[in-house]
């Protein structure tokens, strides 16, 4: 009896989670496919995009890793690069500390699989009453992971066979972040944080250039939000 109840709870969570991942399905399928095709063109068999999408599960970092694999052997640099590219995930983790608490054995996987998209869904989604939070988060993460691995592997396999003009398809990532930004904007009464998030990185981009602006930009955001704490403490809906 208890087993059947658990089964239906799991199914309910899956049905609640799946629609939220629909845009990610499209985005990851395309991006993963382009990533697989890119790796194939760089001379790697489909095992590479398969294994890397499974184990790294951080889209932009996987694109960067292709370049690292083609260069000289330098694992420390690869590690540092992953830290820099992934540093925004520290922010995600801070936002999810309470939301992910009490999810039991799933927690480890939820944290491992917290890419930008899993984070933004699990952070913003309003979980319907009667649906188990832990399983909801788990299926969002698992489905996103699956889409990405599926797309990347397919891209690696089809890379040699099909000849598509995929130029510009990477814009799918830009469009997605713009939409998430707009959604976040609508949720807030106070837009100072969002504005700082655009303006400070823009300044850093102009000052430090595309290769080096990420760390100073994150530092500037952190500093500005810390200084504005008194003003912003009450401005955001929780």
């Amino acid at each position: 009896m208890r087993g059947r109840e658990t089964d239906s709870a799991v199914r309910r969570a899956f049905c609640a989670a799946a629609p939220h991942t629909a845009p990610i399905f499209a985005g990851f399928w395309f991006l993963g496919l382009t990533y697989g095709i890119y790796m194939n063109a760089a001379g790697f068999s489909f095992w590479y995009p398969l294994g890397m999408s499974l184990a790294i599960f951080a889209g932009s970092m996987e694109f960067v890793t292709v370049g690292l694999l083609l260069g000289a052997f330098h694992p420390l640099q690869a590690f540092a690069m992953a830290l820099v590219m992934g540093a925004r995930h520290i922010f995600y983790g801070l936002s999810m500390l309470e939301r992910y608490s009490g999810t039991g054995w799933k927690k480890g996987y939820l944290i491992f699989g917290m890419c930008d998209e899993s984070f933004s869904i699990n952070y913003t989604a309003e979980i319907p009453p009667g649906v188990d939070r832990g399983w909801f988060f788990f299926f969002v993460t698992l489905l996103n992971h699956f889409y990405w691995v599926f797309g990347a592997t397919l891209g690696g396999l089809l890379g040699q066979v099909i000849r598509l003009d995929t130029e510009g398809i990477s814009f799918v990532m830009t469009a997605m972040f713009v939409v998430i930004f707009l959604e976040q904007w609508k949720k807030e009464r106070e837009h100072m944080g969002a504005l700082l998030g655009v303006l400070l990185p823009l300044c850093c981009l102009l000052l430090f250039g595309a290769e080096r602006f990420l760390l100073p930009a994150m530092g500037a955001i952190l500093l500005a939000l810390t200084l504005l704490r008194g003003r912003l403490s009450k401005g955001v809906r929780t």
Partner: protein, 108 residues
């Protein structure tokens, strides 16, 4: 690179990525109270980080060279207008991406 070197490189990337994701949870386990300052950051940072990610996507775009960022600006405008009109995430993303692909492949 040998296969072993490739695996080490990929392993280093996996470790770095996982570390950034696990660090906050390791520093503030469930029993320990999260300081107010950290909770505040957790609440106000996402909006700023999504702004940062938008800028990050445009990091290679130049206003002064190539197509002067015109296709990017048009496509972002399409995303914003579509999203204000229908507020369907998938439609906004697909519309903007197709528009951008058409612009860079056919026009610019």
């Amino acid at each position: 690179m040998t296969l072993w070197q490739q695996l080490t490189t990929i392993g280093a990337v996996v470790a770095g990525t996982a570390l950034t994701r696990f660090l906050p949870f390791l520093c503030f386990p469930a029993k320990r109270r999260v300081p107010d300052y950290v909770r505040y950051l957790g609440r106000v940072l996402p909006a700023a980080v999504f702004g940062l990610l938008v800028v990050y996507c445009f990091r290679e775009v130049s206003l002064f060279e190539g197509s002067h960022a015109i296709p990017e600006l048009i496509a972002v405008l399409v995303v914003v207008l579509l999203h204000r009109w229908k507020r369907q995430m998938l439609l906004s993303i697909a519309g903007g991406t197709l528009c951008y692909m058409a612009l860079v492949q056919l026009v610019f």
